[in-house]
Symmetry: C2
Subunit: 492 residues, 2 copies
Amino acid sequence: MFESAELGHKIDKQAYEHEVPQLRESLLDAQFDLAKAKKFPVIVLVGGVDGAGKGETVNLLNEWMDPRHIQVHAMDAPTPEERERPPMWRFWRALPPKGKIGVFFGSWYTGPIVGKVLGKIGGAELDRRIDEINRFEKMLTDEGALIIKFWFHLSKKAQRRRLKALAKNPRTRWRVTPTDWERFRLYDKFRRWSEYTLRETSSSTAPWIVVEGADERYRNLTVGRILLDALREGLSSGMPQAVVTAPPPPLRVDNLNVIQALDLSQSLDKRDYRKALEAYQGRLNLLARTPEFKKRYSLVVAYEGVDAGGKGGNIRRVTAAIDARYYTIIPVAAPTDEERAQPYLWRFWRHVPGKGRVTIFDRTWYGRVLVERIEGFCTEADWLRAYGEINDFEEQLVRSNILIAKFWIAIGKDEQLKRFQNREETSFKRFKITEEDRRNREKWDAYEQAVCDMVDRTSTDIAPWTLVEGNDKYYARIKVLRTLCDTIEAAL
Amino acid sequence: MFESAELGHKIDKQAYEHEVPQLRESLLDAQFDLAKAKKFPVIVLVGGVDGAGKGETVNLLNEWMDPRHIQVHAMDAPTPEERERPPMWRFWRALPPKGKIGVFFGSWYTGPIVGKVLGKIGGAELDRRIDEINRFEKMLTDEGALIIKFWFHLSKKAQRRRLKALAKNPRTRWRVTPTDWERFRLYDKFRRWSEYTLRETSSSTAPWIVVEGADERYRNLTVGRILLDALREGLSSGMPQAVVTAPPPPLRVDNLNVIQALDLSQSLDKRDYRKALEAYQGRLNLLARTPEFKKRYSLVVAYEGVDAGGKGGNIRRVTAAIDARYYTIIPVAAPTDEERAQPYLWRFWRHVPGKGRVTIFDRTWYGRVLVERIEGFCTEADWLRAYGEINDFEEQLVRSNILIAKFWIAIGKDEQLKRFQNREETSFKRFKITEEDRRNREKWDAYEQAVCDMVDRTSTDIAPWTLVEGNDKYYARIKVLRTLCDTIEAAL
């Protein structure tokens, strides 16, 4: 969930100063049109890690926008008047009317998340509050509201760095209080429960947008552009109902993303590979044969990746380590007639493994947010809701002790071309290259975007994505084997 | 929630035998069209109280429909194979494909409700399961499925009667086991948690249909007609997406409903009225002044009713009992511009009372499912989702110790006419009668249906409706005052 926001996004000063004037003008125009049309209200939530620029962003919005049509609500501890009423009352009172923008600095998320982190409420109460929030936001979007939820994130390292820097500078030292350091000690807990809450409340009509908070210019441009796009989209669709079905996926404002950040040059020489292969295959074999695994657990391995990324060979190195009676490979191609007559996830549910078994999916349920999204095989509404449905699916698996390992095998564009050409030359591999592969290659950038969105929205604590640098097949195979061993070991 | 299903609905043999052949033929036709079009699957859930005809209904469907296109799943205890996988796996496996009907006798509701009643799971786990169910059903309807959820209900009295009758008859004695009587002892608990679960899962796209189970002929006709209507509606709209936005509200197959069942002849003579008025006003005054009420509670009184039903006079008898500093009357008319720019419930949220206060709404948030529904002031989708939104709203109030008393003041059609004529004659009351009142009178039946639907879907344990027989104003006033006293007393 937070992978994309730990990459060290940065915008240089020149690029920033070049873009900002135009962006501000466009934002003012959009705000003016919004106020004139009075078709829907805009609700902006600002939440996230301390020190990740929440306050600065609120100030920025105040500065960039027309103050007559924007209202900032800093939601601190409730007043006595508010305490006498249901917790949501204060937020109802502060809702912006149609045509206006309401910014909530501290929102209906603050209480539940902070409460859970400080141990004031239990997991069950958190779930109840999450459910209440989901119903509330669904009501808002059903009523036509445009909801934009920003979550400002800093990695643990970046937060420590920031606190230290502030403390060192005499002019900012006052900003770092003992409470800040106390909170910092709760970072991991805060991160875990934020991730959980964000996952459970990232609906297709009001998804969270996670913004890396370290670089001010990056933060500002990201927020400004997303806000502008959402406003424009809402205004042009005219009907508030249509506004809410298509919030823009997070934009990239620099060229950095989780795929670009991979170091594809990583490799293993043949000798090291042989040794590691033997070691990890042996370890995996033992792990899969432990009585505890066989009795209580099972494993789902999900392979996705760029065409010609080497999935097939990678899978064979995994299956070679497991007793053939205990694994199943499910190659996922176009759905059968029978599968087409069922809800999308049905074809994957049918292959959920029993205890002690390993099921390997060669392509997966993520097809919906990858190929189906890009080729237009399903509607935008369909793939947008798929993120939540997939998270639900995986949560149910994990809840019944099914371990999940998800691999994206990435290779570079040049490497792919080389492999395609090799295949053409090697006659026995020729069947593998099709016109479709070529067309997919033309959609390289669209796929990259889709993969980033997928990782942002479905890489969770309970079922994280492992991105595998695949230019070197040896390196990729060992990384997968090691991850599988670690996954089982962590559970036992 | 169960009010309509405790009225003693009955169909006589002649009417039944007259209708059934035609109904069966239409059902077969619809089923044939469904199978031919293969546009969407139909998922029928059969749940409810033991002995309320669940099994008989399943048999009936098997008998009436073409067995090639219907599949019944009696979901008993899970098999070992099923136990190894997530709880929902068995249901995924059994989902009907497009064009077919799947009947679930025992469904994803059985485990959570029975588990809670028997104390095997706690309230938090029940809530989690409910949330999971809601996401699952939303996914199904998003995928185009038509879901029809029948809940067969028997009042406690009717269930006892039925068990006794079965036990008495030598031919059916075997059907009553000690387990049945044991379960009967859990009736109240079962009712409470069923009601809770039904309320939390009655979505606008998959609402529950509660069917009184006592009379076989009534039960059969109700199920048959609802199924037929839903199929026809789904098939004619063509697009599965449209199917799910408009499930039919429960039909009346006899002329009995909660409004018709009222005995409007009830009355009080002036002398008794005076005495009772004094007594209850005094009691209410004391109750509203107790320190505990003032410190911890508040009261919301919601008045709805037929035009000329006597709301105004009734309200005055209540306010006369309360210190004027502590109550507020909110007359609800057409929304202001400011209110129109907000979500529907905003105008009511703003008047939520603080501690120790009483807020009386003269007409309420139920306008959406009454006048707005009937006059077409909002779309069908809007008023359908309003039931759930209203239940959420009231649950939040109750959760923060706000007591809710909801009154529907009913008068007969003749009585209304008489009062209208009186008003015309009494010049100082003339301002009260408008052309609109006359038009509403023409929509009498539509209102009656809307009121019944409202009671079915929003009369809950935590915020029940009180239907007030209003032909005699004295009687109505005392009933309201007594209910208010009881409501506060029950809380203190």
